[in-house]
C-alpha cells in the first residue's frame, strides 16, 4: 500500500480532473437534470409546528384535484429508518407526531410541480400543538414533554462518560489549571445544489432511484427496509453531487417518498427540494456548549484534561450518537494528553435534525481547545505556537484513549505557517486592531469502523481491461466535487502505466459497482485508493507475465508507464499497453480483477471505542491575520496560511482546492454563518439572509503541503477534505484577541459580539459564556491507559 516507487508518472502531478470538461461545459448531469417519459412531480407537505400531535389527515380534496395521481401519508410507510442502527427514529412521513417545522407529513405526485403544490395545500391536517423545546436547557428542564420515547431519560438522546487515567491526580500535579466555557453555534452545509431524487418502479418489479446523495449504499439499505423490497430488486444511483459537505449523507424522506409514489402510480416520479426545504432538511453542524478544564506544567505540558460537551441535536437521531462521541474523541491526537476525561450529552430539541458537516463533531471541541490553549500559553508566558510545538503527540504511539497514531506532520505544519506568516515579528506586536492567531488540529482519514458493524470491506473496486486496451474502473464511491472519480483514474493509471484519460470510471451505482460506504468521514481517497491498487496490481501481474514472455525479460525487471510495458534496465525493450492487454487476454482469458479495503481494527475495547480510530490521522496548522474595526466590530480577514499533512498529495491541485474550500467554509462559520431559530421557525431559511462569504470577502490564502508518506495510505496519502477546516476557526478567535484584546469564546464571532465585548472591557466587566446546562452525567467508564 504505502510503499514508495522510485518515481511516479501520474501520482503527485497537478492533472485536470477526469470530469473537468464535462463540468465546465454544463454536460454533467445532476439529479434534477434528469427527466423520464411520463414522469410525475412530487411535493411534500411539511409541518408548520415545531412540536404537535397529528390528530387527523384528510387527503380527499387533494386527491380530487385534476392532475393529481397519488397522495401519500405516513400510514403507507410505517417502518422507521435512520442512518445509524441505534437511532432508527425517522419516518418518511410523520404518523403520530411532528417534531420540527418542516417535518414531512404528506406527499403528492402530480402532472407538474404546481399541481402537486396546490394539492398539498388542499390536504387538511388537524394538529394538537405540544410545547416546543427549542434549546438544550428547555429540553432538559421539561422531562415531562418527551420528543421521542427512547433515550436514557427525558429528552436525552445519548449520554457518555469515559475516564482514561486519573484526571484528579493529573490536576494535582499541574502548575496551572484553567477552565473555560465556549459556545459554537450551528450552521448548515448550504450546498449550491438543492437535493433532488427521481424514482422509477418498472413493470419488472424493480426499483431504481437516482439521487443527489453522498451515501448511495445507505440509501439502498433504508429503501429495502422501509419499502420492504429485497435489496437485490433496488438500484440506487448517486449522481455527482452539487456540493454535499455532509448534508446529503442521510437517507431522506423525499428519497423514500418518490420511490413509494412511483410504486403506487407505475410512473417515474421526481422531486427537487426548494431552497427553504434544504434549510429544513439540514443535518448540519450541532450547536454545542463546551467546557474544558486543563492542567499544565510551567513548560506547557498537559497533565490532565477534563472535557464536557452538550449537543443540541434537533428533532432526530441522524448521525448524532457518532457526532457526540466525535466531540470527545480527537482531543488526544494532537498534543500529548496523559489523563483524559470526557462527558457528553446529546439532547433532542424541536428543530431540524443536526448531523455531520465537514469535520463532523470535531470542529466545535477543536475550536474551544485551541482557544483554551491560547489562554493557557498566555498565562504561562509562552508563545502559543511554541507551546504546541513542544508537546506534540509522538509518531507511532498510542494515546491515552487507545487511538493508534501513525505519522505526525503537525510539527512541520506549525513550523511552516509560523515561518511563512512572519509570526514571530507579528504576534502581540501588531498595532491595535490588527491581529494574528495560530491553531493546530487533526482529523481521521476514514472511520475505522463501518456504520453497520460487520466484517465486510469498506471499499470495493473492480477493473476490467478489454482487448482494445480500454480500462474501466468500477467503484461505489460518489463524487461530490472532491474528485473521487479522478482519484480512481489516477491510481489505476499509475499502476497500469497508462494515462487517466485512457480510463473510464463508473461509480456510485449499486447495480454495477462494488460497495463503497460513501463520501463521508474523509475515507474515500484512502480506502478506494488502496482497493484500486490491489485490483490493478493483480492485472498488472498478468500483463507483466504476458509481456515478459514475449520480451524475454524477467518479471521483476518490468515497469509500466507511458502506455508501455518495458525493461527497467533497457527501456527500449518493451511493448505497448494494448499489445500487452491482447497477449494477456490470450494467455489468461478475459481480464478483470477486484480489490477491496478494510481498515485495521482499533485497539480500544470500551464502549465508544469505535469512534476515533482511523488508518491514519491528518494534521493541519493555520495562521490567520485579520483586521478588526473596533467601532463596528467588523472583521476583515487579510490572509490565511494553512499547512496540511497530506501524507502524499495524489494530485496537489485537488488537495489545494480542498484546503481553499475548507478555509472558506471555516471563515464562514467563524464570522457569520448561523442556523438560528425564532419560535420554532428558522430565522433565515434563504440564501440572502443566511450570510455566507462571497467573492468580496475572499482573503489571500497560502496553502502549504507537508508530506509524511504514511504507510496506511495509498502511496502514503491521507485525507484533506475535512481536517483543514478545523484550525482556521480557533485561529480567527485567537487573532481577534491579538487584535483588540477581547476574547470571543463563541462562534460565530459576529460584529455585535465584538462590539459588546469591547464595551464590557471598557467598563471593566468580564464577558463570557457563563453557565453550563445542568446535567448529571453517569458514573464514568474507567479505562486504564495502555499507551501514553
Amino acid at each position: 500500500m504505502g510503499e514508495e516507487k522510485e518515481e511516479y508518472s501520474i501520482i503527485g502531478r497537478p492533472l485536470i480532473k477526469v470530469d473537468a470538461m464535462a463540468k465546465v461545459t454544463g454536460e454533467t448531469k445532476f439529479a434534477d437534470d434528469l427527466a423520464l417519459p411520463r414522469m410525475l412531480h412530487a411535493k411534500l407537505l411539511r409541518s408548520p409546528h415545531p412540536h404537535a400531535r397529528i390528530l387527523s389527515i384528510d387527503t380527499g380534496p387533494a386527491e380530487a384535484l385534476p392532475g393529481v395521481h397519488a397522495v401519500l401519508t405516513g400510514r403507507a410507510l410505517p417502518i422507521k429508518f435512520g442512518i445509524l442502527p441505534v437511532s432508527q427514529d425517522e419516518e418518511a412521513l410523520a404518523t403520530e407526531k411532528v417534531r420540527y417545522v418542516g417535518d414531512p407529513v404528506a406527499a403528492v405526485a402530480a402532472v407538474d410541480e404546481e399541481t402537486a403544490e396546490a394539492a398539498c395545500r388542499l390536504i387538511r391536517v388537524e394538529y394538537e400543538v405540544l410545547p416546543a423545546l427549542m434549546s438544550v436547557g428547555e429540553a432538559l428542564a421539561r422531562e415531562d414533554v418527551r420528543i421521542h420515547d427512547y433515550g436514557p431519560r427525558g429528552n436525552i438522546h445519548k449520554e457518555v462518560a469515559l475516564e482514561f487515567g486519573d484526571v484528579e491526580e493529573g490536576f494535582a500535579q499541574a502548575d496551572h489549571v484553567r477552565e473555560d466555557v465556549f459556545f459554537y453555534e450551528g450552521s448548515t452545509h448550504l450546498p449550491m445544489e438543492q437535493h433532488a431524487a427521481l424514482a422509477a418502479h418498472g413493470p419488472d418489479g424493480k426499483l431504481c432511484l437516482w439521487s443527489s446523495t453522498q451515501t448511495p449504499h445507505y440509501v439502498h439499505r433504508a429503501l429495502a427496509k422501509v419499502l420492504e423490497l429485497p435489496a437485490s430488486h433496488i438500484r440506487v444511483i448517486a449522481l455527482p453531487n452539487g456540493g454535499g459537505f455532509g448534508g446529503k449523507s442521510d437517507p431522506f424522506s423525499h428519497e423514500i417518498v418518490v420511490c413509494k409514489l412511483s410504486m403506487l402510480t407505475g410512473r417515474p416520479v421526481k422531486i427537487c427540494l426548494t431552497r427553504e426545504e434544504v434549510f429544513y432538511a439540514h443535518r448540519g453542524r450541532h450547536p454545542v456548549t463546551l467546557w474544558f478544564k486543563t492542567g499544565v506544567t510551567r513548560g506547557g505540558a498537559i497533565t490532565a484534561m477534563h472535557f464536557r460537551s452538550y449537543l443540541d441535536g434537533g428533532a432526530y437521531g441522524s448521525y448524532g450518537v457518532a457526532s457526540l462521541y466525535y466531540t470527545g474523541a480527537l482531543q488526544t491526537v494532537t498534543y500529548r494528553v496523559p489523563r483524559y476525561k470526557f462527558e457528553g450529552v446529546r439532547v433532542f430539541t424541536n428543530k431540524p435534525p443536526c448531523g455531520p458537516k465537514r469535520g463532523h463533531g470535531t470542529p466545535q471541541p477543536r475550536c474551544a481547545l485551541e482557544v483554551h490553549l491560547d489562554k493557557l500559553a498566555e498565562a504561562l508566558g509562552l508563545d502559543p505556537s511554541e507551546m504546541r510545538r513542544r508537546h506534540l503527540v509522538q509518531p507511532n504511539s498510542v494515546t491515552v484513549n487507545q487511538l493508534r497514531i501513525g505519522t505526525v506532520g503537525l510539527g512541520e505544519c506549525l513550523d511552516r505557517v509560523v515561518e511563512r506568516s512572519g509570526w514571530k515579528a507579528k504576534h502581540r506586536k501588531l498595532p491595535f486592531g490588527h491581529g494574528i492567531g495560530v491553531a493546530g488540529s487533526a482529523y481521521i482519514s476514514g472511520a475505522g469502523l463501518p456504520i453497520y458493524w460487520n466484517a465486510l470491506p469498506h471499499s470495493g473496486v473492480q477493473i476490467k481491461i478489454d482487448r482494445g486496451g480500454g480500462v474501466a474502473v468500477f467503484c461505489g464511491s460518489t463524487d461530490i466535487g472532491q474528485g473521487s472519480d479522478s482519484v480512481l483514474a489516477y491510481v489505476a493509471a499509475e499502476e497500469l502505466g497508462i494515462e487517466p484519460e485512457d480510463i473510464r470510471v463508473v461509480t456510485a451505482d449499486t447495480d454495477l459497482t462494488p460497495v463503497d460506504l460513501g463520501s463521508y468521514s474523509s475515507r474515500v481517497t484512502l480506502m478506494t485508493g488502496n482497493a484500486t491498487i490491489q485490483a490493478a496490481r493483480k492485472l498488472k501481474a498478468q500483463l507483466f507475465e504476458a509481456a515478459g514472455e514475449k520480451l524475454g525479460v524477467p518479471f521483476d525487471r518490468l515497469r509500466a508507464a507511458h502506455r508501455r510495458i518495458f525493461d527497467r534496465d533497457n527501456p527500449e525493450a518493451g511493448i505497448g499497453f494494448v499489445e500487452a492487454a491482447v497477449l494477456a487476454e490470450a494467455k489468461f482469458g478475459t481480464l478483470g480483477a477486484v480489490g477491496s479495503y478494510t481498515p485495521p481494527k482499533g485497539l480500544g475495547k470500551y464502549k465508544g471505542a469505535g469512534v476515533g480510530p482511523t488508518p491514519t490521522y491528518s494534521y493541519s496548522a493555520a495562521v490567520v491575520e485579520l483586521t478588526v474595526d473596533p467601532e463596528t466590530g467588523f472583521i476583515t480577514v487579510d490572509k490565511v496560511w494553512l499547512a496540511h499533512d497530506i501524507g502524499k498529495a495524489i494530485n496537489p491541485l485537488l488537495v489545494i482546492g480542498q484546503i481553499e474550500g475548507s478555509v472558506y467554509m471555516a471563515l464562514g462559520e467563524a464570522l457569520m454563518e448561523e442556523q438560528a431559530f425564532r419560535k420554532g421557525v428558522h430565522k433565515i431559511p434563504s440564501m440572502l439572509e443566511y450570510k455566507s462569504p462571497t467573492f468580496l470577502e475572499t482573503p489571500q490564502m497560502e496553502s502549504i503541503l507537508v508530506e509524511t508518506l504514511d504507510p496506511a495510505g495509498p502511496y502514503g496519502a491521507k485525507e484533506v477534505g475535512q481536517g483543514v477546516l478545523l484550525p482556521v476557526v480557533p485561529a480567527v478567535l485567537n487573532a481577534i484577541y491579538d487584535a483588540v484584546g477581547v476574547r470571543i469564546d463563541e462562534v460565530p464571532a459576529s460584529p455585535e459580539k465584538i462590539v459588546k465585548a469591547l464595551e464590557a472591557q471598557r467598563r471593566g466587566r468580564a464577558s463570557g459564556n457563563g453557565r453550563l446546562p445542568s446535567v448529571t452525567f453517569p458514573e464514568p467508564t474507567v479505562v486504564q491507559p495502555t499507551g501514553a
Binding site: 461545459t25 466535487g481 440564501m687
Partner: protein, 188 residues
C-alpha cells in the same frame, strides 16, 4: 387545514394558465415554445429546451447559479420571463464553446480546478464571459465585483479568481496577474 406560516408557496391559478407562443434565440438558434406566460426563463431553458447546463440554487434571485447572458449582460434566469425576452440574444453555458472548441474561460477553469462540484460553474462562467467581453483586463477587485452575486460553496473562490485572470491573460497577451503573488499552493 393549518396554513404554514413559513413554507408558503406562491402558485398561479391552477388549470386556466395563460399560455403563449414565444420565440427565443438561445446560443444562436431560434426556438419556438408554447408555455405558460409565468414560466421563468430558467424553467423554459431546462424543461422545454433541454438546456440543463443552467442550474438553480434558490429560484429566488439570491445565489447567481442560474445566470445566463441576455444581449451580453448577466441575467438571473430564475427571475426572467421569456415573454419579455423574445428575439433577444440569450447565451447559456452550452453556448460558450464554439464548434466543440471550449472558451478560454472553460479551459482555465478545468485546468486550475476552479470547478469542484461544478454546480455553480455555468453561472459563473457566463458572468465572467460578460466581464471579459466588456473589460478584457480586469483588476482582481473588478473580477470580485463582477462575480459577487454568484455563490460557490466548494472552492473558496480562489481558484475561480485565478482562472478568470488566467483566461484574460491568454485572451489578451501577458500582463501581471494579481493572484500570482498570493503564494497559493506551495508544494511540499
Amino acid at each position: 387545514m393549518v396554513p404554514s406560516p413559513t413554507l408558503a408557496v406562491n402558485i398561479a391559478p391552477l388549470r386556466d394558465v395563460h399560455k403563449a407562443l414565444i420565440r427565443l434565440r438561445v446560443n444562436g438558434e431560434t426556438h419556438e415554445v408554447y408555455v405558460p406566460v409565468h414560466k421563468t426563463l430558467l424553467e423554459v431553458l431546462r424543461e422545454d429546451l433541454n438546456l440543463t447546463g443552467t442550474k438553480h440554487g434558490c429560484e429566488l434571485g439570491e445565489c447567481g447559479t442560474c445566470t445566463v447572458l441576455v444581449d451580453g449582460e448577466p441575467v438571473l434566469s430564475c427571475l426572467a420571463l421569456p415573454i419579455e425576452l423574445q428575439d433577444r440574444d440569450i447565451v447559456t453555458v452550452e453556448g460558450l464553446a464554439e464548434r466543440g472548441v471550449p472558451h478560454p474561460l472553460q479551459v482555465a477553469f478545468a485546468e486550475l480546478g476552479a470547478a469542484q462540484c461544478g454546480y455553480c460553474t455555468p453561472g459563473i462562467l457566463v458572468a465572467a464571459k460578460s466581464l471579459l467581453d466588456q473589460n478584457p483586463r480586469p483588476t482582481l477587485d473588478e473580477i470580485k465585483e463582477a462575480l459577487a452575486g454568484n455563490l460557490c460553496r466548494c472552492t473558496g473562490y480562489i481558484k475561480i479568481l485565478e482562472a478568470v485572470e488566467l483566461a484574460a491573460q491568454r485572451m489578451t497577451g501577458n500582463w501581471k496577474r494579481e493572484t500570482g503573488n498570493w503564494g497559493t499552493g506551495s508544494g511540499a
